[in-house]
Each structure stands twice: as structure tokens, then as C-alpha cells.
Symmetry: C2
């Protein structure tokens, strides 16, 4: 039993905490690690251990296995066996990455390897950590999510960072400043590591892994900067879960749940969330009572953010512009504001053969006019986009004139002025169609988010780095893009000076297995961030 | 057992056959009827009898009960009990209608009663014969359908007709010509008695019941005409079944299955149909081997149609024109031809936030343009209608630019020339949108039916009758409409001079519980047909 216990602690042995509340009760046990090989019989014993520790409402068998997986994450020999038990497919030649010796796959160990071959291969390795074999799917608070968090944490440690995982699933690593710096500030790099269902290999993950590779280069050099560097791997950016939450990781990082009231409100607002946190707490052997969960949420905030000077997020573009223009990298000027609406036209259904055209109140005819006008309005201003993504005819039949149609409208623009003007024009048009055709109209605004402008000073410094790396002729010629999608930088950027770099991705395709960032372009992003950090004298 | 048997035969005791192949093996047993009351215990015995007669693959319990119901259709006392057993709700004050004494509800017995109060109340009674309590649903070859057929047959007998039911479900009654006429011709009146799911009370049924009421008036008068009158109640006009058949009744009447090859082909083409026929045969105690079913189908044809001079169908308009113009009745000039197409646009899906408007290949944008143009083309010619009734975005999401859209197009017109011209213009436009937007396009014609013009001579005679009944100033002022929906007259009209009368219905609503034909207008249709028959000297 003692050997089992010692191994159980092995995984919680990483470093000490700085910002984000981790499982501090387990700290100080790092010296219990063992290197003895584990057999399948041992695995069975471990399952038993976890089951015995289970409580009413505790974890499922799969979650138990997941815990065992996590326990064994640094033990390559047994890892393959455990993975097969939950259908995770990680090929044997990736196993070495799961140990703290993962840099051994990169024998020559130079900087281009770390920010190139190794960085790219880590994407492939992480892509195999999934809930559903055959596709990439890492929902929030899933087994795969916990597993991926542990993998990310191992890589942070490998890069010379101290690290922690907190209850919301964020993994934060810290690379300390040059000790000669008094009151050093902190630069935070990062993105998210959760994924949509049937995802690609780069969305979010790239910003985490590239940041880790940048820090690893600093460590290899033995170089300390006049500021600390943290890498934040946020969970739940995509909102891929049954809870209905989104951006939980970034929100927690920004202290949104740092009061008891806010933490309790979060649990009350989203059904199933408390239970999922509880199971995760049990997996980690922590206090799973509500008070324990609330405490964990409060600690998930980093406390004061006063020392944080900047947040920089690397992310694939998820759009086609950079590729179309032959550029590997661009700078985001703003994360677009967004208005989402649900529109319903109510007309009169009728027989497609017997109701004359002149006597119809065709809700689809009205909607078709609206779709065309929304497209025209979207085209009327650079950077503005307007999309009808869903359209449903209620009780549709090929021989029935549509009596009711509902569709969604999604409007995004880099400035709120442009967006709100477009929304007004769309609403006016919808009403004019209603009046002209004698229908009923219902418009529901389902979401409204203001644009989040990125910090001009950081943008300037990033433009200089891009130019110095020879990727553009001058800082002024760097491509400026707005971000049509939401990102962690949208949450962080509300309080902390933030910037985003976009990397070219093939065909602009994202949220899709075909998502592709070339190894070359993956390296480009890391090089630019490294150059940016090197250029910073003090912050 | 002998009493049971004699009662079992009671229901098959009606008349002798003329045109449509009936269950002739049961003819000649009409003298076995008994009038002794039946108790619930008797009912149990009958169930037992039927169960004992069951074979492998035989009828379900519900179907057995249905058979018993059919057996008891002329025995009001037990009828309510049996109905409750299968959830059919017929109120006790309608029970008298199910006996051959149903005219007793109409105490004064004059013609306005027969074609008025009684006609209307029979609609209410038939509406309660349904597969699904609470709504009207008489699918093809269902228990409710068999029950309704027996009820219609009883009313035919009540009107002085001989009658029969054949395997496809058609009920045909015949009122013989004046015996002094040599080689009398036949005028066929009728429509269908099946219904769509969640139907109204008048679609189809009206044409059957009004025709029966006209014949009943002739019988009350003791009047014979210089031609025979048949009332055809067709089954399966609506195609409401899992088999995929439609118009089976009218097609059988026209001899479409009168050869062994055609009968066997029908059974092979539609999955489940043979089994449904078999169960019906068992219910009726007939030969349920395939050869027996094929024989039944061959007999369902009326043999030579040479003696049939005309087919006249009364039907609710199912459209809003007559009501809008304040007219109770109109004459159909043609049953519109129809083209149905399925259209698919293939563009490129993309993120609604990140793909600029100018780089999109939005399949919904293309489809919206198409829907608007199809509506304009529909409006370009009187009588032409063009409808997009279904439209589906493949993998729709509010934040994804639609990459693939499919929609249906339904084009109908009273002449083939107008329809085909509209179809050509639609296809040309679809292609121009494809080319302009750089999409892929797939057009599949799924259905094509030519227009069926109604017979001008019968139309003229009906216009005269309408005018003589004081419903229009002159024959020339009668409203002429085209029929946008298909009807039995579309099948019959291919070979036999045919005509249709449309009756005003509320709001043009049909295929809906709200379907409404006023008692006044129901009478109008019967009066016009009676006048038409009276005016015919010889045919
Ligand atoms: Zn992302
Ligand atoms: Zn009908």
C-alpha cells in the first residue's frame, strides 16, 4: 500500500505555487516518487484503492481509470496499458514525452528543435488525448481534459517552470525573473487547451505549447529576464460541455470567482457543474464538499493582478486572410464585438398547390429577402461580417407554403459603432419586410458583447519583433487583422494590456479535423514571441 | 356457433356486384342475418372465434377487434362497447347512423334533410372513425379505414344502392337505371374517404357522402334515371401509409392492376403492402395466400369502363379563392400539372466571425436569392404557383457560414406549357447564381405530372346546373378554377370524361383539424349534382 501511495503522490510533486491556487495540500510530497516499474496487477490495485476512496455520488469507473492514468502519467511502461483501458490512443513513440525526460526525443537540443520539431510533435501528442477515439474531443471537466492538463503541466516543468493546476482546470506555469530584479513584473503568455467536438490539432493548444517552447529555450540558455514569464493554459474556452459555461478558465484567472458569493453563484447558475467539480475533487483526493469546491474556486483566482504587465496570446487565424496574402503571421487590432439575434417570421401556412401566389403570407419568402439584405449589409463595411447560420421552417413540407420561419443572425465588427449601425439597419429591414408582406415578426437579441481592443504598445512591440525576425519589411507593413472569433484575450484584455498574434492556417479552416498549421508557421509564432521578450528591457 | 356464424355473415349481406370485384365468395348469404341482441359475452366469443381462425403472420389483436367491430356495425347496442375496446369514440347519438335505419334521425325525411342535416351529421360521424383518438387519421389499410369503409357501405345501402368493398379498399355503390332503358350508361360520382394524419372532416369524405345523399333523394322519390349512378369511395388518395403508395383506389378502379403482372408488380414495388393486404384478407376470412391477393387485385378493376359516360367529383376547394370572392361553388378547368425538384447548393462552410464576406461561398446566400426569384416567377403568370416548402442547411450552426443547403421546389400550373416554361426559368436562374457565386449546384427532378384537363361538355352541364340552382346569374358567370392539388379525378380523368366541383371552405384551410365546409355549402354541392343528373336526358 505504501508503494501505491508514494506513486500516487508522484504526480503532484511539481514545484510551488505563485499565482493560481493549486492543490496546495499535496505540496511537499514530491520526495515520495518512485521509479519501480508497475504491472497490470498494480493497476488493478490502484483501481481498487480509488474505488475504496469513493463516496456517495463519487466518480464513475472511467473517471477512476482516468485518475489512475493521471497517477501514471510519468511512468511510460504502464501508460500504454492504462490508455487502452479508456480508449485513449497514444502511440508508443510519443510515450517519452509523457515523462519529464521528454526533451530526449530532441537529441540535438538546440533552439530550433525546441520551437520546431518538438513543438510540432507535442501538438500531435496532445491531439491523441481525447474523449472519443478517432476524433479530437476534450470537453470541459472531462477525463481527457484532466489528462491533457497533466500533460501540459509536465511540459511546463520540463521547460523549467513551476506549475499548478486549479479546480477550474487551468494549468499555470511560472518562469521566475532574474533574481537581481526588484519587484519584477510578470508577462503572461497563453491560450486554451480544451477543444470543440471533432476538433483540429491547433486551436488553442498552439498558444499554450508555443509559449512553453519559448520558456524552454530561455531555460536551455540559462537566461533569466528582468520579469517573470507565466504560461497560462486555460480550460473551457470553447464552451464544449453540457453545463453551458464558456471561458470559465480565463474568467477564473481574472478573479471572477474570487468571492464566496461569485463562486456559489457559478455553481448555482450551471446545472451539473458542481457535480463535475466534485468528481474532479474526488479524483484528486481533495475535499469534495461544496465548501471545498467553493474554496477551490476562490483560490482559482490569481489574487492581485497588479504585477501582470501584459498578456500575449498566440492563436491560429481560423480565417483565410493571411494565407490568401501569403503572410505567416499578423497582429490583432481588436476582438470583434458581437450581436446575436434570433428572428422569427410568422406568416400563414397553406397548400402549395391551392393558395394563389397573391394570397400567400410566405414566411420563407420574407426570410429569403432578409438573408439577402443581411448579406449585403455585411458586405457594406470592411471588417464587418453578418451571417445567417441557421434557418428552420416550422413544420416544413415540400407541398406546404411555409407559415413560420426562424433564423439566427450573427453580426461582428472590430468597433461597436460599426456593429450597432449594422444591427440597426438589419432590424429596420426586417421590419420593412414584415410590413410590406403583412407578417408578424419577433426579434430576440440572444447575445451582445462589445469589441475588445488590443493594447497598442504591445502591438507595436510585436510588430517590431515580426520585422526583426525578417517576416515583414518593416513594423508598419505587418498585417493587422481583427479577430472575428472570441478568445481568452477577450476576457483577459478587459483588465490587462493584451495582444494577440494570428498564425496562418490552411484554408482558414478551424474547428475541424482538417485544421492545419504548418511546422514552419508554428515556429514563426514562437520566434516572434521570443524576440518580443528579448526586446523588453523592463516592464 | 351457428348464431355467431350467421351474424358474421350479416355484414357481407349487401346486394350484388356490378363493376368492382367484391368478396363474391360471401355473396348469397344475406338471408342468414339475425336481429337478436348481442351481449359483451358474445363479443368475447367472437374474439375467440377470430383468434382461432388466425394463422401465422395473421392479424394483431387490434385487427381482430376491428373485425368484430365490422361484424357488429349494424348492431347499435353492442357497438359502443366494441368501439371502446379500440379507442374509437363515437357518441351514442350517432349510433343510429350505423344501422340501416339511420334515416330515422331525420324524422321529416324530406330532400333538404337528406342533403342537409343528415349529410352534415354523417361527416361528424365519419370523423370519429380514426386510428388515433383525439385527431382524425385514417391511413391506408388501417383498422379505421376498414371500419370507415363498412360505414360508407351501410350508407350506400341505406340510399338504395347495391354495394361492394374490394381488396384495395374501394367501396362502390350502384343505383340502377330505369329498367326501360336499353344498354344504360353509367355516371360515376365520388371521391376518397381516407385521410391525412391529423386531418379535417371534409377532404375527400364530402365527395363521397354528398353523392350518397343525392342517390338517397332519388330513392326517396322512387325516381330512376335513364342511366345508372354509381358512387365510388376511393381509398388511398392521400398516400397516408408507410407503403409509399398513392391513389391506389382510383388506379385500381381504372384497371391498373387488372393483369396478373401488374398486380404482382404492385406488391413487389411497395414494401409492406402485401402483408397489409394479407391481414385484411384474414380479417375478411378470405384467401390470404399471394395468389388470393393477386386475384383480389385483378378483380378490383371494374372490367370494361365502356359504359361509364362521366365521372363527377365534389371536393372542398382547399384554397381561399371562392371564399375571397363570396361564391359557394366553382368548376375546375384542369388539375394542374406539377414539377417537383430537389436543389442543392454546395459552397464552403466557414467560421462566421473569421471569414470575410468577400471570401465566402455561402450556400444560404445563394439559396435566398433563388427563393426570392422562384417566388417572383410564381407571381409572373396567373394560375401558376411556385413554392419552396423545405429548406435545410447541412450542419447548421449560428456561427458557421452555411456550406451546403438543400431545398425543394414545387411548380404547378393548369397548362403544361406554362409550367415547363417556369421550370426552365427557375433552372436558368439557379445556374446563374451558381456561376456568379462560384458554387456547385445539383438539381434533381423528383416528380413530374402533366396537367389533366376536365371535360368541357360536363363542365358546361354543371355550369348550367349551378345557374339553374340560382347560385350564379348565368352559366358563364360561374367561377372557373384550376386545381392545384391532385385528386381522384386526375386518375379517372385520364380515360373517362371527368369534371370536378369545388366547394368554398373556410380560410382555404385543409389537411388540418380546422378544415371547415359550412352545412349550407355542403348542401349546395349536392343540389348542383342532383340538378345535373336530372337535366341529363340520356348519356
Ligand atoms: Zn481557440
Ligand atoms: Zn382530397
Amino acid at each position: 500500500m505504501s508503494e501505491t501511495k508514494s506513486r500516487m503522490m508522484r504526480v503532484f510533486s511539481f514545484g510551488t505555487m505563485t499565482r493560481n491556487g493549486s492543490y496546495s495540500s499535496l505540496q511537499g510530497m514530491s520526495n515520495l516518487a518512485t521509479s519501480a516499474p508497475i504491472t497490470a496487477t498494480d493497476l488493478k490495485q490502484k483501481e481498487k484503492l480509488v474505488v475504496e476512496n469513493g463516496r456517495e455520488g463519487g466518480p464513475s469507473f472511467t473517471q477512476m481509470i482516468s485518475f489512475v492514468l493521471v497517477l501514471l502519467a510519468s511512468t511510460p511502461v504502464i501508460f500504454g496499458i492504462a490508455q487502452r483501458a479508456v480508449g485513449v490512443n497514444i502511440e508508443s513513440n510519443d510515450l517519452s514525452m509523457h515523462s519529464k525526460d521528454s526533451h530526449s526525443i530532441c537529441e540535438w537540443g538546440d533552439e530550433s528543435c525546441i520551437m520546431g520539431k518538438e513543438l510540432f510533435e507535442r501538438h500531435m501528442a496532445l491531439s491523441r488525448i481525447t474523449e472519443d477515439p478517432g476524433i479530437i474531443n476534450r470537453p470541459y471537466l472531462s477525463v481527457a481534459s484532466a489528462h491533457a492538463a497533466r500533460q501540459v503541466q509536465a511540459w511546463m516543468e520540463d521547460a523549467g517552470m513551476t506549475s499548478s493546476i486549479n479546480i477550474v482546470g487551468n494549468v499555470v506555469g511560472r518562469y521566475e525573473a532574474d533574481p537581481s530584479t526588484s519587484n519584477p513584473k510578470t508577462i503572461v503568455l497563453g491560450s486554451h487547451f480544451d477543444s470543440v467536438n471533432d476538433a483540429g490539432k491547433f486551436d488553442g493548444v498552439y498558444g499554450v505549447l508555443a509559449a512553453i517552447s519559448v520558456v524552454k529555450v530561455l531555460k536551455q540558455r540559462g537566461q533569466r529576464l528582468p520579469f517573470a514569464v507565466e504560461v497560462a493554459a486555460f480550460d473551457d474556452e470553447e464552451g464544449n460541455s453540457s453545463f453551458g459555461t464558456t471561458n470559465t478558465g480565463a474568467k477564473a484567472f481574472m478573479g471572477e470567482y474570487s468571492t464566496k458569493e461569485a463562486a456559489e453563484q457559478l455553481l448555482e447558475q450551471y446545472a451539473g457543474l458542481e457535480d463535475a467539480f466534485r468528481k474532479q475533487q474526488i479524483n484528486y483526493g481533495l475535499d469534495s464538499k461544496r465548501s471545498g469546491i467553493v474554496q477551490g474556486l476562490m483560490k482559482s483566482a490569481g489574487g492581485s493582478l497588479d504585477d501582470v504587465a501584459a498578456f500575449v496570446e498566440l492563436h491560429i487565424e481560423q480565417g483565410p486572410i493571411l494565407e490568401a496574402e501569403g503572410r505567416p503571421i499578423g497582429i490583432v487590432d481588436a476582438i470583434n464585438g458581437q450581436t446575436r439575434m434570433q428572428v422569427r417570421y410568422f406568416g400563414e401556412s397553406g397548400h402549395a398547390g391551392t393558395v394563389p401566389m397573391t394570397m400567400r403570407k410566405d414566411a420563407l419568402g420574407a426570410s429569403a429577402e432578409a438573408v439577402s439584405e443581411i448579406e449585403r449589409i455585411g458586405n457594406s463595411n470592411d471588417g464587418l461580417v453578418a451571417t445567417v447560420g441557421t434557418l428552420n421552417i416550422v413544420h416544413a413540407s415540400s407541398n406546404v407554403v411555409p407559415g413560420e420561419v426562424m433564423f439566427t443572425v450573427d453580426v461582428r465588427a472590430p468597433t461597436d459603432e460599426v456593429r450597432l449601425d449594422a444591427v440597426n439597419r438589419i432590424v429596420e429591414y426586417l421590419e420593412s419586410v414584415r410590413d410590406r408582406r403583412g407578417l408578424e415578426l419577433q426579434i430576440t437579441k440572444t447575445h451582445e458583447a462589445p469589441a475588445v481592443p488590443m493594447n497598442p504598445e504591445i502591438r507595436g512591440a510585436l510588430a517590431t519583433a515580426i520585422s526583426e525576425e525578417g517576416l515583414e519589411d518593416s513594423p508598419d507593413s505587418v498585417r493587422i487583422l481583427s479577430s472575428g472569433a472570441g478568445h481568452d484575450a477577450m476576457i483577459v484584455g478587459n483588465k490587462i494590456p493584451s495582444a494577440m498574434l494570428f498564425l496562418r492556417c490552411a484554408g482558414g479552416i478551424s474547428h475541424n479535423p482538417a485544421e492545419w498549421l504548418s511546422p514552419h508557421d508554428a515556429t514563426v509564432g514562437a520566434r516572434v514571441v521570443l524576440k518580443y521578450l528579448e526586446n523588453l528591457k523592463a516592464v
